[in-house]
């Protein structure tokens, strides 16, 4: 399918494909096994200017948009969903500053993030606040020229590795969701430490850990937007980043599909390659069709966002829902096509399946995505 990409987007695609094939694929299994953060690869991604694609040109980026980010994430995920999420999560942590940051905040943080000198992380989830983000317990109390943060975030991608964190905390608990605010917290700030590092089923090259705030004092200039804007910042950030998670799922699905097609041509049973059997052919055909449909949806939503369309909550949720469900199914089918070998760690099929699962869960579970879609549908009908 020709998606009429710009020259620049084709460059991003080809460059990321080269990095994925030559540099990531050969080491993906090792990072998956050891659960070590891929510093070398992240440095290479930074040197290749890929952290610049989601930063505006006036702050040291290439001025690309969500589609550029999606293309990069898709291609990197094709080789390793874990390494790709280290990259994509930095975009997630950067978006609040791009979307809502003051001129000073943008000038201070974006150039280094665009260069990949440091990476970013986004902190909202807490032990008791997952899908229900209004249950956040972390607080930020204003004292003179500072805010004092207290509380714990968990399941934070890039936690401990990132230098810049955008964190959601309650400035006024009596107001519920409208009492949340977004802050920038730098690594190394006194009172800001990292807790438990999670051991995960998949995306094991990425680091997921706790952020612990104990009387952590940050300058009041680190507030993003205004007090009480925390949830708007979060929702708008997720609208931008959900296509990125969808792109991660898309890349995992594409990688699993390619592996399944390749294997089916090599594996011989009953005297011929298993790709000659209609049972396998139909599976491959269904897998490929769903992957292409995911891609069409992801790119279309990304383009809507890049054109300045802000009312994309429903479409953004659809892309994330469809692409991640597809990734789960396609990677499961890939394991099936590889049979016993698919279940073994010698082949990457089972890793694709483990990596795919998280895309149905994070940045809003797929159940939450369905809520968003349904709510929007009902709202639209009510307006008629």
């Amino acid at each position: 399918m020709d998606y009429l990409l710009t020259e620049e987007q084709k460059m991003i695609r080809d460059l990321c494909r080269q990095i994925a094939r030559e540099k990531i694929a050969p080491v993906a299994a090792e990072y998956d096994k050891t659960e070590k953060f891929p510093h070398g690869i992240i440095k290479l991604i930074a040197e290749s200017d890929l952290f610049a694609v989601f930063v505006p040109a006036e702050y040291g980026g290439t001025g690309g948009g969500v589609l550029d980010l999606c293309i990069a994430t898709e291609e990197l995920s094709c080789a390793c969903g874990g390494i790709a999420v280290c990259y994509a999560a930095s975009a997630l942590g950067t978006f609040p500053i791009v979307l809502f940051g003051t001129e000073e905040q943008k000038k201070k943080y974006l150039p280094d993030l665009a260069k990949g000198k440091t990476i970013a992380a986004f902190g909202i989830t807490e032990p008791e606040a997952g899908s229900d983000a209004s249950a956040i317990k972390t607080t930020a109390v204003k004292k003179g020229d500072h805010y004092i943060l207290n509380g714990t975030k968990h399941f934070i991608t890039n936690g401990g590795e990132a230098g810049v964190y955008t964190v959601i905390a309650m400035t006024d608990r009596t107001k519920g969701a409208r009492g949340a605010s977004a802050f920038i917290v730098e690594k190394g700030t006194p009172g800001f430490t990292f807790g438990k590092k999670e051991e995960k089923m998949g995306i094991r090259a990425s680091i997921t850990s706790e952020l612990i705030f104990t009387d952590c004092k940050i300058p009041k200039e680190n507030l993003i937007a205004r007090e009480g804007m925390g949830f708007i910042v979060t929702m708008k950030t997720f609208d931008m980043s959900r296509p990125g998670v969808a792109a991660q799922a898309l890349g995992i699905a594409q990688g699993a599909l390619e592996l399944a097609v390749k294997y089916s041509r090599e594996r011989k049973q009953f005297g011929k390659p298993i790709s000659g059997f209609q049972g396998i052919q139909w599976m491959l055909a269904d897998m490929a069709t769903k992957v292409e449909a995911s891609r069409a949806l992801v790119y279309a939503v990304a383009r809507m966002l890049d054109s300045g369309n802000t009312g994309v909550a429903k479409e953004s949720a659809m892309a994330k829902l469809f692409a991640s469900d597809t990734a789960m199914q396609v990677s499961t089918d890939a394991v099936q096509i590889l049979g016993g070998y698919g279940y073994m760690r010698d082949y990457p099929a089972e890793k694709y399946m483990r990596d795919a699962k998280i895309t149905q869960i994070y940045e809003g579970t797929n159940q939450i995505q369905r809520n968003i879609i349904a709510l929007q549908l009902i709202k639209e009908m009510a307006k008629l």
């Binding site: 020259e7 460059m11 080269q18 990095i19 040197e47 610049a52 694609v53 290439t62």
Partner: protein, 259 residues
């Protein structure tokens, strides 16, 4: 330090097909790439520039589509690219090629260092680099595996040999051909690719060079390719078995018969 890197665009495969009538390479349908050994030359040129300043000019002779190879070199950090393309250059052997490249380098004039890959993956002659140095009458060091030190007027390098390596010091300007042990070439970066896409490539024909027309192209090439073919696979040898005396006798018999 002004550096000139000479590169060649070659077919990606090592199994090149040959036109039996013209004895030339058949390039149709085969993707073209920068000669892999030249990638090390580009990387080394860019590294020297990054360390000691100056600029890297990348030079190639070839058909118009060789521009792609030059743009790739620009994306990897070269500053300027020159394409020598002209029907008058067609059919050049290694002598005429190195003569033409040397004429272009004379025109560039201001250079301290010329870097080439040790050989091209299609022709495998390893003659063009040394040929350029000879035409320019400057020193050359082939098979360089490490540049130890660059000073204002001299440079010290390690040159790979079959037994180990030699340390050679030379005055400037000098031409090096480099082996793959010298570095590991970088990946292009997005900004480099963008810059390379719109960069201006300088085109020179024979009219731009002070060259003796008799030395150019097929007419200027002393090498005549009479026949070119893929050698037949060698038949497997005969294994002699038994103890030493038996083998020795059998061997002597065979040799007697053959002679």
């Amino acid at each position: 330090m002004n550096i000139i890197v000479c590169i060649k665009q070659v077919p990606e495969t090592t199994e090149v097909r040959i036109n039996p009538e013209t004895n030339t390479l058949m390039r149709e349908g085969v993707k073209s790439i920068i000669n892999p050994f030249d990638m090390y030359a580009i990387e080394e040129g860019v590294r020297i520039k990054e360390k000691s300043g100056g600029k890297v000019t990348v030079l190639t002779m070839g058909p118009p589509q060789a521009e792609t190879a030059l743009r790739e070199a620009l994306s990897l950090g070269a500053d300027e690219a020159i394409l020598l393309s002209d029907r008058a250059f067609a059919g050049s052997d290694t002598w005429a090629t190195s003569y033409t490249l040397a004429c272009a380098i004379r025109k560039i004039k201001d250079y301290d260092l010329i870097v080439c890959g040790k050989q091209a993956s299609d022709g495998d002659t390893a003659q063009v680099g040394p040929g350029i140095a000879t035409h320019l009458d400057i020193p050359q060091v082939t098979y360089v595996k490490k540049i130890e030190e660059i000073k204002d007027k001299t440079v010290r390098v390690e040159r790979m040999t079959e037994e180990g390596y030699e340390i050679i010091e030379s005055g400037l300007p000098v031409l090096f051909t480099v082996v793959k042990e010298i570095n590991s070439p970088r990946m292009p970066a997005l900004r480099g690719l963008m810059r390379a896409k719109s960069a201006k490539i300088i085109h020179w024909t024979h009219k731009d060079l002070e060259a003796n027309a008799e030395n150019l192209g097929l007419g200027g090439s002393p090498t005549q390719v009479v026949k070119i073919f893929t050698p037949l696979p060698r038949p497997s040898g005969e294994m002699l078995e038994g103890d030493v005396e038996v083998i020795a006798r059998k061997l002597a018999d065979i040799l007697n018969k053959e002679i």
